[in-house]
Symmetry: D2
Subunit: 344 residues, 4 copies
C-alpha cells in the first residue's frame, strides 16, 4: 500500500518559513496545505503571488490582512485542522507559546532553533541523529549555526574522534529584510563570555566537548565559523578532508580559487541558479584546513537563511516515519533541492 | 522561410556577461555558442558547471586556464569564427579595444555602457529607440543607471513632455564579487560637479534636458535614483503613475507595503524565484511620486546587475533584424525572463 | 559695569548635549552649572569623569543613577533653580514636553532641531538670523542638516540672490553610540516624496524657495548634501566661491587634494586636534562647484554631531542679550572652539 | 650632567607616523626635528598646519611637493643628518628597504610591525621586554594586534602561567583615510589556516604557546580579540582580573555599562578628549572574563591606530638609553599621553 501524502502547514512566513514552504512543494511525499502569518505587507503578498493558501496566525489579524488585500483562508486553527504536520517558523520564543495549540489539534510539529531544546525534547540534524526523531510528535531543527557545527564537527568526530572542539563564530548582524532598521554599523558586537552555540550543539552531538565564542559583525548575510580541534589520536589534513568529503551537505571551496570571503559564497549561491540563490550546504574552505601537532584548524561559511531548509524536510519525514533511513531521506531531499557535493 | 537561429557568443563572463549568457539560452531564436574570458578562478568554473563552451579572450591565457582545470575550446578568435553576434561584456574600455577584432571577423557586436557612445555610434534602450539599432553592425546597451533613467524618464516624457529633468543618483560602491577588496566603508564618495549619467541619457533620449549628480554610498547592491522634473504643461500624480503603468519593465512598489529600501527590493527579487534573484524591471516607489506646482519628484531603485539583461537580448534582435518591432522583441524577451508589471 | 556670568544647564547628555556642555566650559561669559540626564551607563559616567555636576531629568531615576555609582546632585528641578538658561538636548519631541517646566522655573531655554519650530517660535542659525532671537525666552537651534543648508545657501543667497534651491541629502543612518543596534545594513532607505528639511530651512531663511529629497545611507558619520541652485541673475563659479569665502563657519576642501569623501573629512577633523575630532564648519567641496548656464551645483559635508555646537553658544548669547551683534558672538564662539576658515 | 635632548625624525606621516610625531612633541626628553613623506595631498598639508618641518622621503618628490604648496626642508637624507633617532612609519616592507640608509647615516631607528622581526632583530612591547632593546641601534615596535596580545597575555602569563593561548582576531578591514577605495563590503574575509599574529607574539613573549586565527570584518575602526587560555595551575576570574588590574595600558570596560561593541569604545575615546579620540590602552571587557574548569575566555578591543604610539616613545627611550627602567619610561610616556587605568 502506498504511503499517504503528508499534509503540511507552515506557521510563520519569514526567512525560514517561506523557504520551507517552497521546499515542501518540491517533495512528492508531502503537500503544502497553507501558510500562516500575521503580517499584511509585501512579504505576505509574495506568498499570495505563489498562490499559497494563506491563514492568519492571530484571529484578530484576519480582517486586517483582508483589508490589505490578502485573501485569507481562515485562522491558524483552520489550518491546523487540515494538516498532519505544522512547521513552526515563528520568531524566537513564539514557538513555545504555540505548542499547546498544536497539542490541542493533535498535529505533529517541527520547531526551529530559536526555541529551546525543551520545546520538543528532541533536537535534530538529519545526518547526525535522524533516528532520535522517528515517530516523535515534536522535533526541533536546530539553528543555522548549530546545524553547521553539527554537520562539520559531527562528520569529523564520527570518523576521527574529536577530543575538544572550540568554535569562533562571526555572525551576520541581522537578516536582509530587516536591514533597514535594526542593523549594526561599522562595529563588532561580541557576546560576553562563551556563547550559547556550544551547549546547543550538545543537544544533537551529545558527547562532544565543545565551547564557543561569538561576535556580530557588520554584514547581513552568512555567518563564518572557525573551529579549533584536538583529537584523541593523531590526524592529518587528509583525514579531515576525507571525513568531510564523504558527509552529505558539506562542500569544499578554496581561497586559491578566488573564493576569498562570504561575498564570493553568496555569488556562488546565485550562480548555482537555485531559488533565492540559496545554499543548503556548508561551504568549508579546503585550504583553511591546517594541522599543527595535535590541533586542527578549519573555517567555513554558514548560509544562515537556508542551510536548515533540508533539515526541516527531513524532520517532517522522521516524525511522520515517512522514511526511517536517514540516508534515504537526505538523498531524497537533496535531490529535490539540488544539493551537491561540489560547487564547481 | 523560417528565420535562422542567430549564433551568439559572450566575451567577458562577469556580472553582466554571465547573465546575458543565461538569458540567451532561454531564447528560441538565438543560441549561445560559447563564452570567453581570461579568468581561471571559481567564476569561470561556474560556467563550466553549466556546460557552456569556454574560450580564452587572450591566447596566452589558454594554457593558464587549462592548467586550472578549465576545458578551453580555443581562443576568442575561434569563437568569433562561429558566431553571428558577439556580446562584449568585458570591463570598461576593453570593449573599444576589442572592436577591431570584431570588425576583422565581421561579426556584429553588442557593447555595454562601460564603453563610450562612440564605440558603436548607437546607444540603446529597447523601449526608447529600438529602431535606431536595426541592422547596425554595432550597438551599445547603455549602463544600468542610464537604462533606468531612460525607461522611467522616457515613459514620462513621451506622455507628458518633460521640460527639465534633474537626477540624484546614489550608487552602490562595488559589485558583490569584488566586495572583498575594493569597497568603500562607512563613507559617502561624491562625484565632483555633475555626473556623466545625464549626457549618457542623451545618447538615447536625444532631446531631454537632463542633468545629474551622483554619490557612491556604502552598500554593494542596487543604485537608488531620485528625479526632480518640471513639465511643459500642468501634470498631476495620476498622470505620472499612468505613464509608468503602461510602460514595460517598470513596476511599482510602495513604502507603505513595507518596501522601505534597497534591501527590501533585493528580498523581493529573491522571492520572485528568478535566477540569481535578478530584477529586470525598474521598481519605482509609487508613494514617492509627489507633484508640487510645476515640479514632480519620484524615486526608484536601479537593479545594477540585471536591468540591462533584457536590453542585451533585444539589442541582438535589433541589429540582426530578427525582429523589427520593438514591442514584439520586448514582449518576447520579457516572457522568457519572467518580467512582470506587478511584483505583488 | 561688567556683565554677569550667565549660568547654564544642559538637559540631555547625548551626542549634542555633551558637546554643548564642553563648549560652555570654554566661554568666559557663561558657566556650566550642571548637566541632567536619565541614563546611568558609561555615557553619563564620562560626565562624572569631567567633574560635571550631574542631575537626574526624572525624579524616579535619582536612586537608579546613584546605585549605578553616579554622584547625583538632585533633580532637573534643582538644576533649573540654579540656572539662567537651560539648553535642552533631550531626544526628539521630549523638548516640547519639557517646555512647561522651563516656563514654571522661568528659565530661558535653547531647544534643538529635533523639536518643531513651534516649540520656541524662533528658529536660529547665528549667521542668518541672530537678531530674531535677541531677548527671547525660547529659541530653537535648527538641526545639523538645516544649519548646514542655512549657512551655505544663506551665504550664497544674500550675495547672489537664489531663485530656487533644490537639495539632495544623503544622511548618516544612526549615531555612533547607537550603532550596535539600530543601524541600516547594505541598503539605502529613501524618504518618500520630499523631505522635511526644506520647510525647516524656511523657519530661518524665510523667503528662500527650497525643496529637498533625502535618503539614509549605510554609514554612521556625517551627512552629505548636494544643492542645485538657480539664480535671479547670471552667476559664475567665482561668485559662489567668494560668497562662501567671506561667510563664517564654511571651509573649502578639494577632491583634488585627496579629500574624496566623508571619511577624509572625518580624518581631517581628527587631525585638527579638537575635542572628539569635531568639525564645526561646513566643508564645501570647492571643485564640486559647477555653473551651467543659469544653474549651479555644489556639494558639502554636514558634520552631524558638531556643526550646531557653536550655534548653541550663540543662541545663549542672543536670548540673554549677552551680545547683540551676531558677528561679535560668532567671532567669540569660534575663537574658543578653534573654528577656522581653512583646514590646510 | 643633564641628559641631552634626543633629536627624532619621523619617516612616513600616515596613521601611525602622524600620531608618533605628535606624541614626540609632548615629551621633554626628545624633540621632533621633522617628518618625511612622499605625499603632497591634504594629509601632508595637515602636518604643515602644525608647523612641522617637512622633508621628502624621495628626492624626486621634493619638487612635486613644493608645487603642491608644501614647504619642503629637504630630503630624507637632510633629515637623517640632523637626528639621533628616526621612527620609520612607512608602509609595510618599505622599512626594510630604508634600513641601509639609516645605517649609512648612523642613526638609530624604530621600525613598525609591518616589517618582519628580522629588520631589527629585536621586537618590542614596553611592558614585556623593554630591556631587550636597551642600547640597540634598531628596534621594531610590533603591530597593534601583536602589541595588544602581548600586553594582555603577557600580564596574565607573568602572573598565572599560561599553558596555551589560542586567539581569535576580528580585524578592521582598512584604515579610515583609505576607506573610499579599498574596503570590504557586507562580507567577512578569513585568513586561511592560522594567522601570522601568533608567531609574531613570540618575538616578544618568546616562550608563550600561542596560535591564532583571523578574519577581516566589514568595519574600519578597531580590531576585536577573543582569547582562549589554559593554565598550568587552577585559576579563577579574580586572578585574571587582578593580573590585568596591575598591568599598565590595560583598562576594563563592561558590557553591562552599555559598552556593547567597538562603536562604544570609539565613542569613549572621543569623550576622553584626547587628540583624535585616540585610545592607547587595551580595553578588556571585564564581564567577558569567564573561567570554565581549566580554561579561560576573555575579549578585548584593539585600538589599531593608536595603541602602539606609547610603545614608539618608549622604544626611543630604550634604544637611546634615555631611560633604562621600563616602568619609569612607561610612566613618563603615559603621563604625557594621558593614559589611564580607568575610563569611567
Amino acid at each position: 500500500m502506498p504511503k499517504p501524502i503528508i499534509k503540511v502547514g507552515v506557521n510563520g512566513y519569514g526567512v525560514i518559513g517561506k523557504r520551507v514552504a517552497d521546499a515542501i512543494t518540491l517533495q512528492n511525499d508531502m503537500k503544502l496545505i497553507g501558510i500562516s502569518d500575521i503580517a499584511s505587507d509585501w512579504r505576505i503578498k509574495m506568498a499570495q503571488r505563489k498562490n499559497y493558501n494563506i491563514y492568519s496566525s492571530m484571529k484578530e489579524k484576519v480582517e486586517v490582512m483582508r483589508k490589505a488585500g490578502i485573501e485569507v483562508q481562515g485562522s491558524l486553527e483552520d489550518l491546523l485542522e487540515k494538516v498532519d504536520v505544522i512547521v513552526d517558523c515563528t520568531p524566537k520564543k513564539i514557538g513555545m507559546k504555540n505548542k499547546s495549540i498544536y497539542e490541542k489539534f493533535n498535529v505533529k510539529a517541527v520547531f526551529q532553533g530559536g526555541e529551546k531544546h525543551e520545546v520538543a525534547g528532541t533536537s535534530f540534524v538529519a545526518q547526525c541523529n535522524y533516528e532520535e526523531a522517528l515517530g516523535r510528535q515534536f522535533v526541533r531543527v536546530v539553528s543555522c549555526n548549530t546545524t553547521a557545527l553539527c554537520r562539520v564537527l559531527g562528520a569529523i568526530d564520527s570518523n576521527l574522534g574529536i577530543k575538544k572542539a572550540r568554535a569562533f563564530i562571526v555572525r551576520r548582524a541581522v537578516d536582509v529584510w530587516e536591514s533597514g532598521r535594526t542593523g549594526i554599523m561599522n562595529t563588532v558586537v561580541p557576546t560576553m563570555g562563551i556563547s550559547h552555540h556550544a551547549p546547543d550543539v550538545k543537544t544533537v552531538l551529545h558527547h562532544l566537548d565543545i565551547q564557543s565564542v561569538a561576535v556580530k559583525a557588520a554584514h547581513n548575510l552568512f555567518h563564518l565559523h572557525f573551529a579549533l580541534l584536538t583529537f584523541k589520536n593523531t590526524v592529518n589534513c587528509e583525514d579531515i578532508i576525507e571525513s568531510l568529503e564523504k558527509a552529505p551537505r558539506i562542500v569544499f571551496v578554496n581561497s586559491e580559487d578566488g573564493v576569498d570571503g562570504l561575498h564570493a559564497i553568496f555569488e556562488i549561491g546565485r550562480d548555482l541558479g537555485r531559488s533565492r540563490g540559496d545554499i543548503y550546504e556548508i561551504p568549508v574552505w579546503r585550504d583553511s584546513i591546517t594541522v599543527l601537532k595535535d590541533e586542527a584548524y578549519l573555517a567555513w561559511s554558514t548560509p544562515n537563511e537556508s542551510n536548515v531548509i533540508p533539515e526541516n524536510i527531513d524532520a517532517i519525514r522522521a516524525i511522520t516515519e515517512l522514511e526511517t533511513d536517514w540516508r534515504k531521506s537526505v538523498e531524497k531531499t537533496d535531490k529535490t533541492l539540488g544539493v551537491v557535493k561540489k560547487f564547481y
